[in-house]
């Protein structure tokens, strides 16, 4: 059992810039309705704290919005976009719903799985770079098969396109890390 103090100590504080962003979101809603900002703030928190929501992160968000931690947990677990466990550097979410299936999403999922050397959807490649997930309809039905990575939709996928995509993401990560 972790003590409250320990949780406090582990609280991931937002940068000043992010705190201002959070304040901006809260102001969009009437006084006393800070809770309305929760989804926006969870998106910001996930992006800021390594791509997933730890219990500590959720507690921190609860504090920012003046609500109980449980209110954050119940929201974070309801909406599918939030990762409640650590992921790879990049998460590929491949749409698996009907219209994408009609144009070959099953093959794309299989291809990525094999390429990453993982045994099932949800796993991360051994180098920690890519996590493969599936998603329900992402609203790109006319442009499938498709996947979402962060904010970006990659559409009209083919195996060759996936090869290029992975190289690009890997190169991007290495470039950013070398810079640091």
């Amino acid at each position: 059992m972790i003590s409250t103090l320990e949780i406090q100590a582990k609280r991931p504080p937002f940068s000043l810039e992010k705190l201002e962003q959070v304040q901006g979101v809260i102001k969009q809603f009437p006084d006393g309705r800070e809770k309305s900002a929760i989804l926006s703030v969870l998106h910001i928190a996930e992006e800021e704290f390594g791509g997933w929501l730890s219990p500590e992160t959720m507690d921190y968000v609860a504090g920012l919005l003046n609500i109980q931690s449980i209110e954050v947990y119940e929201v974070a677990t309801f909406y599918t976009m939030f990762n409640l466990e650590p992921t790879g550097k990049f998460v590929f979410e491949v749409c698996r719903t009907g219209p994408c299936m009609l144009v070959g999403s099953d093959d794309i999922i299989e291809y990525i799985k094999n390429k990453l050397g993982i045994s099932k959807v949800g796993e991360t490649s051994a180098d920690g770079m890519f996590t493969l997930k599936t998603a329900e309809c992402l609203g790109a039905c006319g442009y499938g098969p498709m996947l979402q990575c962060g904010k970006v939709y990659h559409e009209h996928l083919t195996p060759a396109k996936i090869d290029v995509l992975m190289d690009e993401y890997r190169a991007k990560y290495l470039a950013e890390n070398n810079k640091n």
């Binding site: 009437p30 919005l65 309801f78 719903t97």
Partner: protein, 448 residues
Amino acid sequence: MGRKLLLEHIDVPGIETYDVYRNHGGYSSVEKALKSMSPQEVVEQVQKSALKGRGGAGFPTGMKWSFLAKPEGVPRYLVCNADESEPGTFKDRFLMEKLPHLMVEGMITSSYALGANTAYIYIRGEYMFVSDILEKAIAEAYAKGWLGKNILGSGFDLDLYVAPGGGAYICGEETALLESLEGKRGNPRMKPPFPAIKGLYGCPTVVNNVESICTVVPIVNIGADEFLKIGTEKSSGTKLISACGNLVRPGVYEIELGMSVEEFIYGDDWCRGIANGKKIKALIPGGSSVPILPAHLITKTAAGEDRFMSYESLSDGGFASGSMLGSGGFIVFDEDQCIVRNTWNFARFYAHESCGQCSPCREGTSWMEKVLRRIENGEGNMRDIDLLADINKKIEGNTICPLGDAAAWPVAAAIRHFREEFEWHITHPQDAVKGNYGLLKSPELILQ
């Protein structure tokens, strides 16, 4: 090609920017409404236009507006439902991505009509890149005086915000959307009270689909009388259709309601027929929740009349031999596609997306998914088909929101029209696992 009300300037370079949009007549509906019409007159125009809600249910937008309660001293809200998640539907994304200022303009004109001084665009979380586009357009609109205090000197104030979802199909249901906007799980509310009486934060609220709100712009600009001349008697105006599946040219098209289904699927200006020279096997005309139509009921009704792209013609024959225009998510299946596999896929979708609040839906959708999966995998038995029908009956009408019905109807329709394909999966388990029913079955059965 037919008349375009929404996508008239879609090909103009830079139309997503304020200046270009404005130079092509953008924001004229706001000028017209705020300078020369009372809010009530705008409501009356929308009522007279007979615009049916473009999100899927087809409830008349003007009627919804007329229900809005107006108690003294209580704020009213307009909330745009941009939680587009119905499989097969990607038209709202297209509108917001390509014409963000049309969305903003529609929100201003509609908010004026409803007397709302705060409005939200609740957009599905996955469309984050679209949110960015909208935020930019909203900032431009504020800078140019179309949003904020005393717009055009009319005394009307409006603040407009974009609020993202977090990934939940159910939040497309308007009361679940409001719960989500209040920062809660997206569990639909019991109705009544309807949002028009008690909506966001308990205040009177109108929730409208993106395309509905955008269509208010041309209705105000050209007037309801002119709008009524487009389309059919029962389906006025134009509609965006997002066409997908096995088509030569999938994409978003604006049609005049009432054009022929055959022309839409095969016409050069439209989808250009079935991809790879194949034949059509089935069609889901209005998003995954509406009944599937087998080949012989697509371009003709059961009575042998031509089928048209309109609310009344697509539903001709009821659920026995018709379907619905729904959201305009037009999903085409070629002759190689397996109906059982597709039905299972959609059942999995609904099981995944059920919010879990009502047991008939929570349990029923997962149960249907399991039964369909075993049939698809060659492990089913004949009683499973009746079992599916039985589960269906127990979900339908027994839930707070329509997600249960939306999950049940497609399964019922697939069995109704393709029962022999389900039976074949059960009698030929070895072949069923190999996958493609369409390739193995005689074409007469599939294409009749």
